[in-house]
Amino acid sequence: MISLVGKAEFKSRITLIVVLFIGLIITNGVQSKTDDHGHLRSANDQQPVLAWTDTPILIPDKKRTRGFKRLTLKGMNADQATVYPADVRESWSDAVPDNVIEVKNRGGKKGGYHWIGAVSQQNNTVQSVSSVIYFPNPGPAPRPMLSQQKSTLDISPVKLPREHQHYRAGENWDFLVRFNGEPLIDSPVVFETENKSLQTLKTNQDGIVTIPFPDDFPQEAAAEDQHSHGHASRKKAGFVLTVEQQTEGQQFISHFNYHYTTDAFYKKNLALGIGFALFGMITAAPLLRKSIKGSEA
């Protein structure tokens, strides 16, 4: 090809292609920046936090913040919230004015995940709500945080997704239910998602319930305004787990909520990937011929 069109012309064509490609990307970016960059909204751009369920949950702000995270407590009132960093020995409590919890990143080597829990007691009902948030901190794994008994009736994930990863549709994840520190066997757990899925599952002999995250994300047209978190190819939705236990005239209700995302191949085409990989292989195949000038045996 080079010999046909001439070296200089070939170079200029390549330059033109590169310039056009960069131009396309920039044009695409300018078009998408207003709707694709949710985190570029100004700090004053406060929007009312809407609950997607009647079940008590902690809803994190959609707006990206530095050094702190804000969560709104919905469906329940509480005076204070307890924060457990990965190193649970350094837990602390924060006031909850207007049902808003502002968790500051206290830095240091406290680990990434922080557990937020709030408890309310009315008459004979003790209700707790909990969730987790992530700060990009160095520090220990969140195992002590998860294994710590944080309320009388406690439901917590056995494992949390690693940084850059999520609970995803089509995956199964285990959650442990404990009452007074002991695994709660054969207890019903209600699993509800923002996409209107509702399931009741039971804990096993170890107090573990396996949650099959459903692929229940709405079709594209309906999903346009769903949380895209800046990543056009990944949607996310909330879920909440609820477990109840009655003992000695008291009712305990515990909720854990977090989010899950679309499945691994959402808006991805494996066949296309294999096709391009094969194209790459075919392009490189002439290198395997022994007759190429300059090659060594």
């Binding site: 990307i25 940084e163 056009a232 085409n269 391009f276 094969l278 290198l287």
Partner: protein, 351 residues
């Protein structure tokens, strides 16, 4: 029983295989959260998209910080505050702690993609495929690409994404095209990174380039040594600071060098300067400190690898004689004993 002698090459291969398995599967037996705890520390192409990796490379936080912190800070017009640059600074500090000691040896000894390419190349020798070494003028043409990758994909595009000029997908532009993302995650049993995104034009273009590169590299590595390493931004990032590290390649002038050139033949990066130059010029920006040039130099103490005042390894005639019996400079196995003896004598004579 045939005795197995430990050469620098065999030691390096052992280190490469151990780190390959540890980096790709380490979280399986060392803990689910391992990469969260040691993340950002290792300047090697070990990918965050690998579900059981034990660590991931510095290029991910570098791009994210340029995108989310620096770019957004400028957009919000709240000043180009020091606190916005601080996380980026700490990322590089992590990088430097290891880099100051080991220099570019990460590329030649630890990088999973480097090891995989080297293993494919060895397979190519077994299959009798030809070796295509790059000529000096070809090397000169390829070298700028790694700088373009660093400046364009690791720095400029993530920064522009933060400014809102380019799409969000360009916020980690290098990761979007990085073949290590596909190869290491496939080694961990998932094909999702090979799949091409179809959510936007940019997503599709990046996915197509990534898949193409994977296919190209797998085949090219059978006949060309370290094809991706030559354009890898990690190499240019290392090259930027290579003079600051304690570990370095040292070559002293020797009259025998002019007619020899075995060092360049042994070099997996086809660096002509290790043959034609001496002093600081011999320690080229493409060097991955694998030590093969020192192993295959038939002259005593001409090429050496040093850490501070200590010599880690230096060339010697006796070592060279043993080494060529095990493997030719180009990586293939010697055909027959008699032929090796003859070759060795000829090369010694030339040297």
């Amino acid at each position: 029983m045939k005795s197995i002698s430990m050469t620098l090459g065999r030691f390096r291969l052992s280190v490469q295989l151990i780190t390959l398995v540890t980096l790709l599967y380490g979280a399986t037996w060392m803990g689910h959260y391992l990469s969260d705890m040691v993340s950002n520390a290792l300047p090697a192409l070990s990918c965050a998209y690998d579900p059981v990796a034990s660590d991931y490379c510095i290029l991910i936080p570098t791009q994210h910080q340029l995108n989310h912190r620096v770019g957004e800070a400028i957009v919000q017009m709240q000043g180009f505050a020091f606190k916005m640059l601080l996380p980026l600074f700490f990322t590089f500090i992590n990088f430097f702690i290891l880099f100051v000691i080991l220099n570019k040896a990460f590329c030649g000894w630890i990088c999973p993609l480097g090891t995989i390419q080297e293993l494919i190349y060895r397979l190519g020798r077994k299959l009798g495929r030809p070796l295509h070494s790059l000529k000096p003028y070809q090397t000169g043409k390829v070298r700028p690409i790694k700088w373009l990758m660093l400046v364009g994909l690791v720095m400029a595009l993530p920064l522009m994404a933060g400014l809102g000029v380019t799409p969000h997908e360009t916020g980690d532009a290098f990761c979007e095209v990085c073949p290590s993302r596909v190869i290491t995650s496939m080694a961990a049993g998932t094909t999702e990174e090979l799949a091409v995104g179809t959510s936007s034009f940019t997503d599709t273009v990046f996915g197509a380039i990534r898949a193409f590169l994977v296919g190209f590299i797998i085949i090219a590595a059978l006949a060309v040594r370290q094809p991706f390493c030559r354009i890898c931004p990690m190499l240019s990032l290392h090259a930027l600071f290579r003079r600051l590290s304690l570990t370095r390649l040292v070559k002293v002038q020797n009259d025998h060098c002019e007619k020899c050139g075995i060092c360049t033949k042994a070099c997996p990066m086809d660096i002509p300067e290790i043959w034609t130059e001496h002093g600081s010029k011999a320690f080229n920006e493409d060097c991955i400190l694998c030590g093969r040039c020192a192993e295959y130099c038939p002259q005593d103490s001409v090429i050496s690898i040093k850490t501070g005042p200590f010599t880690v390894f230096e060339s010697s005639r006796d070592y060279y004689k043993k080494r060529v019996k095990l493997e030719k400079p180009n990586g293939s196995k010697p055909a027959a004993k008699n032929r090796i003896r003859k070759t060795t004598k000829t090369q010694e004579h030339k040297a």
